[in-house]
Structures are given as structure tokens and as C-alpha cells.
Amino acid sequence: MGRRQSASFAHWRIFVWFFETGKDKDMFDSLTSKLGDIFDGLTRRGALSAADVEAALREVRVALLEADVALAVVKDFIAQVQERAVGEDVLRSVTPGQMVIKIVHDHLVEMLGGDDESAAIDGVGINLAGTAPVAVLMVGLQGSGKTTTSAKLALRIKKRAKMKVLMASLDVYRPAAQQQLAVLGQQTDVATLPVIMGEQPLAIAKRAMDTGAKEGFDVVVLDTAGRLHIDQELMDEVAAVSQATNPIETLLVTDAMTGQDAANIAKEFNDKIGVTGIVLTRVDGDARGGAALSMRAVSGCPIKLMGVGEKVDALETFQARRIAGRILGQGDIVGLVEKAAETIDQEDAEKLAKKMMKGDFTLEDMATQLKQLRGMGDVGGLMGMIPGIGKMKKQMAGANIDDKMLARQQAILSSMTAQERARPKLLNGSRRKRIASGSGTSVPEVNRLLKQFKQMGQMMKKMGKMGKKGLMGMGGGLPPGMMPPGMPPGR
């Protein structure tokens, strides 16, 4: 964890503060997610009874259900955590509240497949060991992302494992499905099996394997048509393909937005054709992704990869921690930090962060900060990534905490003279009036910005005193419960 993360993490916190200081009191209260509140309560009380654990787990239950974790899986999860939490080491630990948070989070990470996949992060993330050509069979419901993922995966294998990959489309049903894979093959520069009109899926699969063997391919990726797990005929068809090609991996491709049915889907596909791994797609969306937990828990199949965009390189190794944070409603903290790291000039950011922590925070800096904030993209989108804020969007809109508000604040700041920005003390009543009319805002708005500025300055100073530990760790400005202990702010 280097300077890169620390600087962007500082920004992440500043971003949170920015909104927290800028909003009304009511909103302040509701901004921390329900889960955050509960954990906050536990942390503050410092002592934990079995009843406390139960109360917390009631909220966890709701959080999980709202995240689309299947009911049966939620029940098991709660029971397991309860067993773990109401135990000696919890009651004797120094900060019992944090202990519960940690147990919930750790158990979730564990159930999702654990944390030690980091070793495989640079690898392909799936099993490819076998006598060439090995088959990789892609299956799933209609529209889940199989064809796109086939191309992404082929590209990944080609790049990372330096293997020769052939793709074949067994989708003879959906209009233009075979052409879709052919186009993706061209885009990724991966060979696709020439299409023979009227050839049936099983025959295509066999021809793909033959071609793979004859032409020296290492891997054959078989893209199949979308099918319902209750469609016996089509399930039999894919089972026959599986028999004939003996795939080293059968990957179930599922949408991260899937609801309660995810459990059924995973169970049925696994029972009927034997799934070796799950690919979670559309992780770039704002779904909480509880489907991941449902599928994993019900089928026992590991989640191996995740799709994070429509482009052919948007495929990543599954990261249990990242998804766990989301499911618990903590927002995609890692994602936000990454986004900040992407957009903000690191040197500037570090300079600014240092300056802030020393307490020399001026309105000029606030203006820069605001500009960077807006450069990170739409506030609504960013807020979706902040813990507890997702649900609050409506109220945020009501309070005008949106791009428009930021734009007004920018206008206020740029209506000030450089001198005023450097020495806010100069801003007396008549100057404030001038600034308000110059920026097309009102004096109360100017006052509010100045108050916010003051609060930000104070917090920065506090953060500075805490030093690096405070910056990186859990204490300070981050509302408790937003980040479980031990969760690094970066990867």
C-alpha cells in the first residue's frame, strides 16, 4: 500500500466530509446507512450482549435481503454468524462492536470464497490444465452476458496465458448470435469457428473440438444459447454438449442484478450439467450483488470471474472482499478509491492532502477540490458508491446536493477575489452580498459555503494530527461501520 492509495484515500474521505458538512442536519442523520447506525451503536457502547448481537443481526438480515441474497441463504448466514458472535472471545474482546462487524464481514468474505485469491489475480482465474485442446463451456440464462464474456475470457487467456484460443458459437436460436461472436472475435483478434448454416449445437461443438485439435489450439471456448434452467429440452442439449466435449470448466454466467431466483438458477444448472465456476457480470452497475452469495452458498461453486463493463477487456478476477462490502451496503469503497486514483492527478492530490493536514486549507484549495470532485464524474454516480448514500438519492435531490449545488458553490468561489480566497476573514457582510449577486446565488448560500469551509478545515487539521495511521485506518471522520476493520482502502 503505497503513496498512491493514501492520497486517493484522503480524497475519498474528503469527498465524504464534503457532503456531510454541506448538508442539513436531518440529512446528516440519515446519511449513515442503517447498518452503519447499528454498528455505530455497538461500537459506542463497548459492551456486547447476546441481545445486542441479535439486534444487529436483524438489521443484517434486512441488509442482505435488500441486497437480493436469497432468503434461505440469509437465514443460514444469520444463524452461523450468531453462533460465532455470541461467544467468549467476542464478549471479552476490547471492542465488541467492532468484533461483530468483523465477524459479519469476514464470514461473508469467507462464504463468497475467501480472500486468498489474490495470488491468482494476475493469472487467468480459471483452470486450463489438460490435454489440448481443453474446452471451456459457457452457460446461463438469456441475456446474462455469455457471448460477451466468451470473448473477454478468450482475450484474457490469450494475453495472460499466451495460449491459442478458438471460439465457437453454439447459439443457433438467437438472431445474429453467431455473427455477434464472429465480430467479437475480430475485435479481440481471436479465431472463431467458421459458421456452417443449419448445423446443430452438438455437431458444432464436435467440429470445434476437432478443429481445435487439428489446428493446434490450446483452448476452445464454447458459447451457448441462453436457456432457462427449467427448459428440459435445452438443458438436455447442453448436457449432451458437455458429454461430448468434456469441458475442463463449465462457467455459469449470471447477472449481478439477479434477484432471489439466483439460488434456483445456480442449483439447477449445477445439478443438471455440473458447473465448475460462476462468472458474475455487470458488476460495473450499482446492484448490491447478493446473487453472488446465493449462488455460491446454494451450489458450492466458486465465483471465479466478474464482468465489469461492456468492452472486451472488462473482465476481472472475482474479489470476495469487494463484493462483500457491497452486499453489506457499504458501497463500493474500493471502486471509489480506484476511481479517485484514476482521475485525480496524484502529485497535486498529495500536495493538497499534505497542505490540508497541516491546516493551511484555503478557499482556493476548496475551489481546487471542488473542481476535482466534479472531474470525477456525475455526483449521483459517485454517491452511489458511497456507503449509505445510495438509498438517500431522493433526499439528496431534495436538498439540492447534486451537480447543480456543486456548480453554484463553484460559482460562489469564483466570484471571490484571489485575495478573499486566500484570506476568508476579509469576507464581511458587504463582500458576501457582492459575491452572492456576482454568482447568481444568495447570501445564505455564501454563508453556508463559508461554514462548510470552516468545518472542512477543522476536520483536516484533526486528520493531520492523527497522521498516517488516522488517514489509513478506521478512526476519525469515517462513520463507523462504513468500512470493516482490516479492509484496506486499496487493493
Binding site: E66, G145, P175, L181, R288, G380, K393
Partner: protein, 317 residues
């Protein structure tokens, strides 16, 4: 779209209802059998109400709506002995009551030439297929239909729509991959006007609602077609996948905010997902539910009907 979908007893309607129910029953037969299992004639108490709530949660109604509906049904019968079918019927009634006001088939305005419909939604939800199915119905009802292939991004999206054009007899306006979607929509509207087409269906690329630039692109399509007709699009249909969970709220909220969604189509109800989130959506947004998709074929689109949907949801019939 035809009002009654059983034309001359060709069995279409039975087919659909059966498929829908089959799907729903299959779910109730698997991981989620709560209503049938828990409600062997018993006294309604708090535990029973919680179980009702859980049954509704498993159908994707969401925690809040499920709790409200379950409490409503349970409180009215508290401490009484109730048979399973009775409680199911009561649940279905309550849900149908919520859904009835939004069950509104899509009917194009014959005074508009063309009636412009923008079809949008997240990736893979079934937009292109629904456009094809809708075209088929409209043409069967005597309208002339043009399809605009405004998904210029996804591989072979244009070809996919072109095949739907061939299947249904609708004219397809398309350009080269990577072209400007708004420009294509503009050209299509120009042509539809010139040809006096009744309905123009614009198929757009899938986009996740949290992608700011892609949502802006959708807004741009609207801005550009308004240069020709400032009342267009006359409808903006959001296509939802029945397997979706609580994220549907975010989808409807954002799309509605960005492009003023006028109605919904829910696809893939032939699977085991019950699409219960529409109950919560109906309460929250009150957007018309125009139709449901029940298969991949051209004929697999049906008007949304509150009662059968509600009864299917709770595992009745």
C-alpha cells in the same frame, strides 16, 4: 396490441397462462415453498405473518412491500384459523389491487405519423426482442411499423434487429457500427415521417443506469429527434428482466429521471423468477405495465394482466 389475446381459440392465451403459471409453480416447488408449506390450516399469529412476509420476499417483492402486504393480510385475520388457499387468495387479491391501476396495454395514437417509441433499459434485458415482438403485434393489428437500429455499439446488434425486421415485415433503418445513435434516430424519424409510417420503434443499446455518459447519450437521442417533432418520443418504454431483484428500483428511478419513462415491459416471465419487484414498483412509481415477455418467439409478448400475475405470484391455480 390486441385487447383480448385469445383469437379464435388458437390456444395462445392458454399457452401463455400455462407457461406463466408453470414457471411460477416450478419456483414454488423448489427452494421457495413457503406459502404452501407453512399454511397448512393454522392460526394466524406473528410467526405466521413473518412467514407470509418471507414468502413474498422470495418472490422479489422486497422487504418493505412484503412486510406491508403480509401485515395487512395477517392483521385482518389475526388469531383466526385460516386455510392455505384462503390466505393465498387474500394475498393475490391484495397484490392485484396494487397492480390493477398500472395494467395498461400499449396503444399507439393513430393521429401520430409516426408514434415514436423509444425503447431503453439495462444490458440484455430483452429490448431488441421486445421491439421485434411489439412490431409483430402492431403489424398484425394493421399498423405500419419502422424499426430504428440505434444500438450502434454492441456487436451484431444491427443484424439482430434486421432479422426481426425480416421476421415481422417491419422496415429497419440502420447505419454502420459505431455511428452516432442520435443521428440514426433522426434519420429514421425523417424517413418514417416521409413514408407516413404509423409507429417508429427505436431500439437503443443496453446501458446501466449508473453510467452517466451513456444516459446522456440517451438524452441526446431525445433532443435530436425533437428537432423534427417536439412531442417525440411519444412513449419511452423501459424493459425490465423478470429475474432482476431490488436493483429494478434504481433502474426505474434513474431512467425515469433521465428520459421520462412512460411505461414498462417485463421480459422472461417464462422462467422461474416471479418478477415480484413490479408490485413495489407499481406502488412507488405507478408507471403503466404494458406487456410481459413469456418466451423468445415473435408471439411471446402479452398484455400485462394484474389478476393472473398476482395469482401466479402467490402460487395459486
Amino acid at each position: 396490441m390486441s385487447e383480448t389475446d385469445d383469437e379464435a381459440g388458437d390456444g395462445k392465451k392458454t399457452g401463455w397462462l400455462q407457461r406463466l403459471k408453470q414457471g411460477l409453480r416450478k419456483t414454488s416447488g423448489k427452494l421457495t415453498t413457503p406459502i404452501t408449506e407453512t399454511f397448512t390450516k393454522r392460526r394466524i399469529d406473528d410467526a405466521a405473518i413473518l412467514e407470509l412476509e418471507e414468502a413474498l420476499i422470495s418472490a422479489d417483492l422486497g422487504v418493505a412491500t412484503a412486510a406491508r402486504v403480509a401485515r395487512l393480510i395477517g392483521k385482518a385475520r389475526f388469531d383466526k384459523e385460516v386455510a392455505p388457499d384462503e390466505i393465498k387468495a387474500a394475498l393475490a387479491d391484495e397484490i392485484a389491487k396494487i397492480l390493477e391501476p398500472v395494467a395498461m396495454p400499449f396503444v399507439p395514437d393513430p393521429g401520430l405519423k409516426p408514434h415514436v417509441v423509444l425503447v431503453c433499459g439495462v444490458n440484455g434485458s430483452g429490448k431488441t426482442t421486445s421491439v421485434g415482438k411489439l412490431a409483430k403485434q402492431l403489424i398484425e393489428d394493421g399498423s405500419t411499423v419502422m424499426l430504428a437500429a440505434a444500438d450502434t455499439f454492441r456487436a451484431a446488434a444491427v443484424e439482430q434487429l434486421q432479422i426481426w425486421g425480416e421476421r415481422t415485415g417491419a422496415v429497419v433503418v440502420a447505419s454502420t457500427p459505431g455511428a452516432d445513435a442520435a443521428g440514426l434516430a433522426f434519420d429514421a424519424l425523417t424517413r418514417a415521417r416521409a413514408e407516413g409510417t404509423d409507429v417508429l420503434l427505436i431500439d437503443t443499446a443496453g446501458r446501466l443506469q449508473n453510467k452517466v455518459d451513456l444516459m446522456a447519450e440517451l438524452q441526446k437521442i431525445i433532443r435530436v429527434i425533437r428537432k423534427i417533432d417536439d412531442t417525440a418520443p411519444h412513449d419511452c418504454i423501459l424493459v425490465l428482466d423478470a429475474t432482476v431483484g431490488q436493483n429494478a428500483h434504481s433502474q426505474v428511478e434513474t431512467f425515469r429521471h433521465m428520459v421520462d419513462v412512460s411505461g414498462l415491459i417485463m421480459t422472461k416471465l417464462d422462467g422461474t423468477a416471479r418478477g415480484g419487484v413490479v408490485v413495489a414498483l407499481a406502488e412507488k412509481f405507478g408507471l403503466p405495465m404494458h406487456a410481459v415477455g413469456v418466451g423468445e418467439g415473435a408471439d411471446d409478448l402479452r398484455p400485462f394482466e394484474a389478476r393472473p400475475f398476482a395469482r401466479g405470484l402467490v402460487g395459486l391455480d
